[in-house]
């Protein structure tokens, strides 16, 4: 998988200019990045799947991080999208911390447990405070991409 268009995270999926102010807005804006990058062929279906997962249990995993995710028929290839909310937004997090770092994770329905593996390596990397700080301070999509790729390896 050396073709850049098949990497889960590419700079086109990282938006540091749009800063969502609510949880529903964050999920829709992240999804729009995936749709624009051609990773989702049915936006409504993907949104319904993300909302269903969110209704089951919040993806506000604590430490200022939100990782809305879904395994969905509407997803073309494994995808990570990223945005920030510098002022922090309420994400129903279990530790009640406002969320500043937002990751969207999407995998195709036939993805097996790829979903869990991506979620677990991303979460593991985000447990390090230096990773979170670097992501909050990153000044370009390219920088975010390299922080995440380095951390997830």
């Amino acid at each position: 998988m050396t073709d850049a268009t098949h990497q889960p995270l590419i700079p086109d999926l990282i938006d540091l200019t749009n800063e969502p102010e609510t949880k529903p807005e964050a999920i829709e804006s992240l999804l729009d990045l995936a749709v624009e990058a051609g990773r989702v062929d049915d936006r409504e279906q993907a949104l319904a799947d993300l909302r269903a997962r969110e209704a089951e249990a919040t993806t506000g995993v604590g430490m200022g991080i939100g990782i809305p995710h879904a395994k969905s028929e509407a997803v073309v290839s494994p995808t990570i999208a990223f945005m920030r909310a510098p002022d922090g937004i309420d994400f129903d997090s279990m530790d009640d911390e406002p969320v500043r770092l937002l990751f969207l994770l999407l995998v195709p329905a036939q993805g097996g447990d790829e979903h869990l593996q991506m979620l677990s390596s991303l979460s593991r990397s985000l447990m390090h405070e230096e990773t979170r700080t670097a992501l909050l301070e990153a000044d370009s999509p390219g920088r975010v991409e390299s922080i995440v790729l380095e951390a997830v390896e």
Partner: protein, 87 residues
């Protein structure tokens, strides 16, 4: 400190609702509670990020530990969550 190994039954594994139930339960007890893959490194069971980082699937064995006055009750509740199929 007490320790127990259980096999994760819910189809989602230690993810989504079962994971949030574990984190909620672990947070309610005075005892320090940890969870980790059997024989592997354990993490704080009251942190959702830490629990998510484990990537534990259905059918995987996990080690649970609890240390504190209510350790027995804490492990009993965690074991119930992890061995109850999702409705």
């Amino acid at each position: 400190m007490i320790e127990r190994t259980v096999t994760v039954v819910p189809e989602d594994g230690l993810h989504a609702r079962p994971a949030s139930q574990v984190v909620e339960a672990a947070s309610e007890y005075e005892s320090r509670v940890t969870v980790g893959p059997a024989g592997g490194e354990s993490v704080d069971a009251s942190s959702m990020l830490a629990v998510t980082s484990l990537g534990v699937g259905s059918g995987d064995a996990v080690d649970l530990t609890a240390d504190g006055e209510d350790e027995q009750a804490a492990l009993d509740e965690l074991e119930t969550i992890l061995t109850t199929p999702e409705s």
